[in-house]
């Protein structure tokens, strides 16, 4: 029964192929990037280890998305988790990496436990681990059990995906890994959890009731907002990006959840469309998040710091990195005509079209979700104005930033490659949507040949004929034309630009230096105030006075309370530790006592046996 044909345990279908493509798209530049990134940072032995880890990581991810047997799936899933754990603690000499690794491995194992639970429930009905057999058996499963399995799957994969409130490990683990690994973890690894949800919840289990989609939508909306708000408050560039992963997983799940809801509302065309939006954002996020992490890695390599308050002025010394980061920022902030815009726009469209053809309650729900998505996009843009502006513009804020040098060719190459992909996926959206339609039609086993999903002539349902038009090439053309005309007009009116150098007006202070520049903390203050009900900011001030009128020094600190950590995780951890401390008394080190435990257990069993 437990004999497996290894080759037959892995197979390809459209969904697997799509994920393989995503993995390959991000892994290739990351691998090229790592050749220079690892050099100089690490010893030769460590570099070899890094390569082995990277290959094993990529390989395990590829196996995860191609397994067609739940048993093999669990094994390769666990392999992926373990390999990524070792990559998180790659800088094992840093205390922080080891701590991040512990948080990561604990959370990921909790997730795996839930996944195993779900698979065992399904196995009980199928008596086989094969996906096809599981699918058949799940059709006959009682609805209660189906709901239970879905919740187990959601928690299990949600932990890996980093949905709120299971995201706690993400901002620790992703930044601590070497940057090319961060780009893979954030860009690809958390997407395997989305794969898991699509594969197990939608394709194998089959959507049971409409609330499944609603639950995913609510969680996704919360993840979007929480992720982006935390990202706004964050000044560690890699942590900031990690929080944006939480946000973007939310956006992807908005698409996936909407499609699950539409299936139950009996709107197959919209279901396919929403899934296309979700998958499109998935590949887009893989590309631009990979790009942004690589840029962050370049900045880290050049300065040795991750705190953006220490950067500044890097655009002059690192123009390539700055350009790539700018493109990535524009994409993640959903600015047209780049790829992030297309997928977020599609998701919004899915909500709007859903509102047109669904009952009132769902209309309102969709409206709120669309509003949240729009708000998220705006906040993300604000966040990246901060990240780009503070990092690359103005004057260097520390000597690390002043001494920064542009990174070597292979790192530049990887960044430029991904930047080009960002643009290509924006401009070539109509082709990609066609491809993704095939994937998402396969997910729902719907024949999509009749559906016409070209963007220029986007006819969704007959009754909404001629509803939506979007063409990113035309937008791009319009943008460039508009900018060109403006510049030309300015040139004609004002004549040739003259270069003048002068002091910034400083209210007569005459001593402006980089310390007087706008900081990231200051930039994010309005948001800190706007969301203070959630962030619970507090500050500490410390004045040293010589007299009442003369303050010699003034110290000002501001912090935000991490709500999830304090109100959810810490009580749980405390409870576990308290139990463990209580149990520790059982273990005083006496060998006699230990043997006595065995003795007492045997006696108890004998006496207990006598009762029957």
């Amino acid at each position: 029964m437990l004999y497996f044909n290894i080759i037959r345990s892995f197979s390809l279908d459209p969904l697997s192929v799509f994920f393989l493509a995503v993995i390959a798209l991000v892994c290739l530049p990351s691998a090229i990037y790592s050749t220079s990134y690892l050099k100089g940072h690490y010893s030769a032995k460590k570099i070899i280890l890094g390569w082995i880890g990277l290959s094993a990581f990529v390989f395990s991810m590829m196996l995860v998305v191609t397994a067609n047997n739940a048993f093999c799936f669990i094994i390769v899933w666990e392999l992926m988790s373990l390999v990524s754990y070792f990559l998180v603690i790659f800088d094992s000499e840093h205390e922080k990496s080891v701590q991040a690794g512990i948080i990561y491995i604990v959370m990921t194992h909790i997730g795996t436990a839930f996944i195993i639970g779900a698979i065992l429930v399904m196995y009980k009905y199928a008596l086989s681990f094969d996906f096809a057999a599981l699918k058949q058996a799940c059709a006959l499963m009682p609805p209660r059990i189906k709901d239970l399995t879905f919740i187990l799957l959601l928690i299990g994969f949600g932990t890996k995906a980093g949905i709120v409130p299971l995201h706690i490990w993400l901002p620790y683990a992703h930044p601590q890994a070497p940057s090319h690994i961060s780009s893979l973890m954030s860009g690809v690894m958390i997407k395997t959890a989305i794969y898991g949800i699509i594969r197990f919840a939608i394709m194998i289990l089959g959507i049971n009731s409409a609330w499944w989609g609603s639950v995913i939508l609510v969680i996704a909306a919360i993840s979007c907002l929480v992720g982006v708000i935390y990202a706004l408050m964050e000044h560690d560039i890699k942590k900031l990006l990690a929080y944006h992963s939480v946000e973007n997983i939310g956006i992807i799940l908005l698409g996936v959840g909407a499609s699950m809801l539409f299936v139950k509302l009996n709107l197959p065309v919209l279901a396919v469309f929403a899934m296309v939006a979700g998958l499109y954002h998935l590949v887009n996020h893989a590309i631009f998040k990979g790009l942004l992490f690589l840029c962050a890695g370049s900045v880290y390599k050049a300065t040795g710091k991750r705190d953006i308050e220490k950067f500044g002025g890097l655009i002059k010394t690192m123009p390539w990195t700055a350009g790539a980061f700018l493109i990535g920022s524009m994409a993640i902030s959903a600015l047209p005509p780049l790829n992030g815009f297309v997928s977020e726009w599609l998701t919004l469209q899915a909500f709007f079209l859903g509102m047109l053809s669904s009952p009132v309650g769902i209309k309102i729900f969709m409206g709120i979700l669309a509003a949240i998505l729009a708000l998220t996009g705006g906040l993300a843009a604000a966040c990246f104005v901060k990240a780009f502006g503070i990092t690359f513009l103005a004057m260097p804020r520390s000597k690390y930033a002043a001494d920064a040098k542009e990174v070597p060719f292979s790192m530049k190459f990887a960044m430029v490659f991904l930047s080009i992909l960002t643009v290509v996926f924006g401009l070539g959206s109509s082709v990609i949507i066609k491809l993704l339609t095939r994937v998402s039609a396969d997910v729902f086993a719907i024949d999509a040949k009749a559906m016409n999903f070209t963007l220029n002539n986007f006819v969704l349902c007959p009754k909404q004929a001629g509803g939506i038009y979007l063409s990113t090439p035309i937008i791009a053309l319009a943008l460039f034309l508009f900018m060109g005309v403006t510049i030309l007009a300015l040139y004609l009116i004002l004549g040739k630009a003259k270069r003048r150098t002068g002091r910034t007006w400083d209210c007569g202070y005459y001593k402006l230096d980089s310390r007087t520049e706008y900081t990231a903390t200051a930039f994010s203050k309005p948001f800190r105030i706007a969301f203070d009900f959630f962030l619970l900011p507090y500050r500490k001030t410390e004045k040293i006075r010589e007299s009442f009128y003369h303050i010699k020094s003034f110290k000002y600190e501001t912090h935000t309370t991490s709500v999830f950590k304090i109100y959810i995780y810490e009580p749980v951890v405390k409870l576990i530790l308290r139990t463990a401390t209580a149990l520790k008394k059982m273990q005083p080190g006496s060998i006699h006592l230990y043997i006595a435990y065995i003795f007492i257990t045997i006696l108890a069993l004998i006496i207990f046996m006598n009762k029957f």
Binding site: K584, Q587, H592, F599, I606, I607
Partner: protein
């Protein structure tokens, strides 16, 4: 009839181990118990006319009756520890507890396996009692050598259970167990020797460093 005598002797030797205060007495009692076990095995071998059981019996005699006690005596002599086995409960109380354990074994056997043959039932009861007494020795004696003997006594009990219920384990398993026990005693002996060298005592009660 002789079978009954041997079985009683095995139990009696277990009781004598529980009451013995000195290590040498403990080892001698173990040796005697193993000897009676050997006689039981020979009895079985003759009754069943099995060559394999004969080999097992010979091995039992060579290892448990002669070699292991000899090794243990040597360790006791070498480490020059004081003779006492380090009793946590005194001999009288120990004897009462041992008797209680035997009674418990009897109760348990009655409920667990309704064995037809009275002799088989007695063998099972005694085997279980001996196993429990071995465990008791491990818990309530301080010296590390007493722990080794406790383990060996438990093994004797298990051997007897196997013979009583199914006429012995498969031949190769039996041989492997003998080999295991032998190696185990050698390793444990070396450990005791080392412990004595490092800590200048073999008092398990005082080895409390390893804890959570």
């Amino acid at each position: 009839m002789s079978m009954g005598i041997f079985l009683s002797a095995v139990l009696l030797m277990a009781f004598s181990m529980v009451t013995s205060k000195r290590l040498n007495a403990l080892i001698r009692a173990f040796s005697a118990q193993s000897f009676f076990l050997f006689l039981i095995t020979v009895f079985f071998a003759v009754r069943e006319k099995s060559l394999e059981l004969c080999v097992v019996a010979v091995l039992l005699f060579a290892i448990k009756v002669i070699t292991i006690p000899h090794l243990l005596f040597r360790i006791v002599k070498k480490i020059k520890t004081d003779e006492g086995a380090g009793l946590i409960v005194n001999p009288t109380l120990s004897l009462f507890i041992a008797m209680f354990l035997a009674y418990l074994a009897y109760l348990f056997t009655g409920r667990l396996l309704p064995l037809q043959d009275r002799m088989q039932e007695a063998a099972f009861v005694i085997a279980l009692a001996v196993t429990l007494i071995g465990l008791f020795l491990m818990v309530f004696r301080m010296k590390a050598i007493a722990q080794i003997i406790g383990l060996l006594v438990m093994e004797n009990g298990l051997f007897l259970i196997a013979s009583a219920v199914s006429g012995g384990m498969p031949f190769f398993v039996e041989i492997a167990i003998f080999f295991d026990i032998f190696v185990c005693v050698i390793i444990l002996g070396m450990f005791v020797y080392k412990i004595n060298k490092v800590f200048t005592h073999i008092d398990v009660n005082k080895l409390r460093e390893l804890r959570g």
